[in-house]
């Protein structure tokens, strides 16, 4: 519904427009105004006017009250308008103007928000700077305190230094005289006593007349106490010491924790695995299913000289648990006695394989492994391989005389065969 009952009058600079609202309530949101376009839209009522000439829309006002809106529009150019609106505007122009107005209004809104943002930023910055200044001030205060301390201390130092220099100069001049006297005395005493330790060269040399670089300064003690009667040099002696052994040679530098852990794990594993092939072992007694018991049995047989029985015991034990290196080692020993040299080599090799990683724990076992394999090789007349194994054993246990002797023997043998051929 178009609102057409409006009244207006104008002055050269302003236009006053009064618009009655037929009972409708108006709020500022209903009024839309731009440079050339004015619209009041209170559904279902609508008033719009394309203004004759541009107005200053920022300064113009609208007063809502008493059932009508009173517009005060300030003209951009002071001139008298023929009429409020453009009468003979065609539709297109109207449309264009309307759109333009809307766009302009939007732009204005955007600019306003941006301006607001900018001011907010500025305020923030200002606040930040203020806090920074405060903190700076605090820091400076502390710095100043420290500086004062420092300066005080520096001054004291300088004072002390100058005192030193003066004291030095004074004392050195004094000293000169004293030293000359001392030398006289010392020389006398020297000639008296025949047996005297070598007088240290303090009293006799170096009486500089003036301190060259301040080096020739004095001692606060009188020269007497020091320059004569120093005890003779100590008679030389040696004190032997032992060092506390360390489980790890140095704190973690050369430690072999990782390897030792591995070995312990392996042993634990080996104990736990028992072969599942128990079908034919059902007729065995309880104790005969225990690899350790079987190993002991085997050892006893070996000691008694019953090597075949020992081998049997070890075989059974291996079937039950093939991860225990000691079984292979002992079986190798049996084979050696039985002159089954290839089997001996096999078993020693298997044992050595199981004895990785090499740690102090399994040292003895490894030595045995190498020695047995070496023996087997030698008995097969493979002397070089044998020597290799003996040397490996020697490396692990360098203090073992037997191994050394045997290694020597093998070396001679090798040299002998080489010479012979």
């Amino acid at each position: 519904l178009w609102l057409r009952e409006h009244r207006w009058h104008q002055t050269p600079t302003a236009v006053f427009l009064s618009l009655p609202l037929r009972g409708a309530r108006a709020t500022p949101a209903n009024i839309f105004c731009s440079e050339r376009y004015l619209k009041v839209s209170i559904p279902p009522f609508l008033f719009e006017a394309i203004l004759y000439a541009p107005i200053d829309d920022t300064n113009s006002t609208a007063k809502i009250g008493n059932g009508n809106i009173f517009f005060t529009l300030y003209k951009k150019e002071p001139a008298m308008w023929d009429s409020l609106t453009l009468e003979n505007a065609d539709k297109e122009k109207l449309q264009y103007l309307r759109e333009n107005a809307v766009l302009k209004a939007q732009q204005k809104a955007k600019e306003e928000t941006e301006a607001k943002k900018a001011t907010k930023e500025e305020h923030k910055k200002y606040a930040l700077e203020a806090t920074m200044k405060l903190e700076e001030a605090e820091r400076k205060r502390i710095e100043d305190l420290k500086e004062k301390e420092r300066q005080k201390v520096t001054e004291e130092l300088e004072l002390w230094k100058n005192q030193q220099k003066d004291a030095d100069k004074y004392k050195s001049i004094q000293k000169e005289g004293e030293l000359h006297q001392e030398i006289g005395q010392l020389n006398e005493r020297k000639s008296e006593k025949m047996t005297k330790t070598r007088i240290p060269n303090e009293g006799t040399s170096k009486t500089r007349p003036k301190p060259t670089k301040g080096h020739g300064s004095s001692s606060i003690f009188s020269p007497n106490a020091k320059e004569e009667q120093l005890p003779a040099p100590r008679s030389a002696a040696t004190i032997k010491v032992n060092f506390t052994p360390r489980v790890f040679p140095t704190a973690l530098r050369e430690s072999r924790v990782a390897e030792e852990e591995e070995w312990v794990h392996k042993q634990a594993e080996a104990r736990r695995t028992i072969s599942a092939d128990l079908s034919e072992l059902e007729d065995l007694k309880e104790e005969e299913k225990n690899p350790d018991w079987l190993k002991d049995k085997g050892n006893k047989m070996f000691a008694m000289g019953n090597y075949l029985a020992a081998v049997n015991a070890y075989n059974l034990a291996v079937r039950l648990n093939n991860k225990l290196p000691l079984l292979y080692l002992n079986r190798a020993a049996c084979h050696l006695k039985l002159r089954n040299l290839h089997k001996a080599i096999e078993d020693s090799s298997k044992a050595l394989e199981l004895l990785t990683p090499p740690v102090p724990d399994n040292k003895d076992a490894r030595v045995k492994g190498y020695v047995r394999r070496g023996t087997a090789f030698c008995q097969l007349e493979l002397y070089t391989e044998g020597l290799q194994d003996y040397e490996a054993a020697l490396k692990i246990d360098p203090k073992n005389k037997n191994i050394e002797k045997d290694a020597e023997k093998i070396r001679h043998l090798i040299q002998g065969t080489m010479q012979g051929s």
Partner: protein, 360 residues
């Protein structure tokens, strides 16, 4: 350094510092002067001795002496105040005593050890203590040797491992108990944590213990008195203070230990003017200033009636971080209370002043 409430505590003020172009291993004050020496190793593998003077807030280089082998440590401890000869140990195991006025030829020289001399100490000089001046050196070859500058070529005492025994590096040595002409004691610290106390009068091992971690530095609180306290610092941030007045026949000396920094404690140095204050320097570039408090009773009787020492307690007075690299050497000036110099592996030497030590 802390602010207002802590301003009554001693403050460590940095007075001067000097950037060097070589690795400095040891720094020492020249006695009775405001000069200091820096000993180290240049990049080309030669040794350097530099003499600086403290002028205002700067260090001014007075003299530079170059030697064929890098120098690890030095001491003025065994020389008289007139002469002020410097004894140095170098990377090759040579012990040399130099007259800094004429440094071309050493006053005394001996190839004392087969490997690098890690630590050196002197006693009997500088008007402190009694008895003959002697120098002790500890080396990586596991031996600790005592030298008398009047005797050429052979040491007057030699503490070496038993034949056939695997040797452990000796990292530090210190003299102590030199209160009359006969008594003297040498303490050696080794890399497996052993601390051994050798009595030079009876030429025997007086006491030994093991503190589990390699011992980086040992020092008696005073060399020239009846031995009172011994501080031993080690790897992994721990140091032990032993009360040396009472030796129990089996338990040895009582001790208190403190874990200060997460890294190695490289050096401990007692304040020459107050034997209960000492400074430790750490691998994290920090310095800690400690005070030892004595217990109410220094010894008590144990169940069998033997005298046993009682260790006191240690409190931290101040700590400061100066560098990111370890501070490997530290020396208090014997003439000015609170003045100290420290050298770090970041190739700087710093002069520091510790204030308010009078009020402790």
């Amino acid at each position: 350094m802390s602010a207002a409430p802590g301003l009554e505590r001693p403050q460590v003020v940095s007075h001067a510092h000097q950037a060097l172009n070589y690795t400095v291993f040891d720094c020492k004050w020249v006695p009775r002067s405001a000069r200091l020496l820096c000993l180290g190793s240049a990049a080309r593998g030669t040794g350097l001795i530099q003499l600086y003077e403290l002028r205002g807030a700067r260090l001014e280089l007075l003299r530079e002496i170059e030697k064929p082998k890098p120098i690890k440590c030095g001491t003025f401890g065994a020389t008289s105040l007139q002469q002020r000869y410097l004894a140095t140990g170098d990377f090759d195991g040579n012990l040399n005593i130099w007259n800094l006025e004429a440094p071309e030829i050493p006053v005394y020289s001996v190839k004392g050890h087969k490997e690098i001399i890690n630590s050196i100490d002197g006693v009997g000089g500088l008007g402190i203590g009694e008895g003959a001046p002697e120098i002790v050196t500890g080396s990586r070859d596991g031996t600790v040797k005592v030298w008398d500058p009047r005797q050429k070529d052979t040491p007057v005492a030699n503490m070496e491992p038993v034949q056939g025994e695997s040797k452990r590096d000796c990292w530090t040595v210190a003299f102590g108990n030199a209160y009359n002409q006969e008594e003297r004691v040498v303490c050696g610290g080794y890399d497996n944590g052993d601390i051994k106390l050798f009595d030079l009068k009876t030429m025997s091992l007086r006491w030994e213990t093991n503190i589990k971690n390699g011992v980086c530095s040992v020092e008696f609180d005073r060399k020239d008195i009846n031995m009172n306290k011994l501080v031993a610092t080690s790897l992994e941030g721990k140091f032990h203070v032993f009360d040396m007045r009472t030796q129990h026949p089996t338990k040895g000396f009582a001790s208190v230990s403190e874990k200060a920094q997460k890294s190695t404690i490289w050096q401990v140095r007692h304040l020459p003017q107050n034997r209960d204050i000492f400074m430790t320097s750490g691998g994290s570039g920090s310095l800690h200033l400690w005070k030892y408090e004595y217990p109410a009773q220094r010894s008590r009787k144990d169940s069998e009636g033997a005298e046993m020492g009682v260790a006191g307690s240690v409190s931290l007075l101040q700590n400061v971080t100066l560098s990111t690299q370890p501070i490997s050497s530290l020396d208090w000036s014997p003439d000015k209370k609170g003045l100290c110099v420290c050298g770090a592996f970041d190739q700087t030497v710093r002069v520091l002043i510790v204030t308010k030590l009078n009020k402790i």
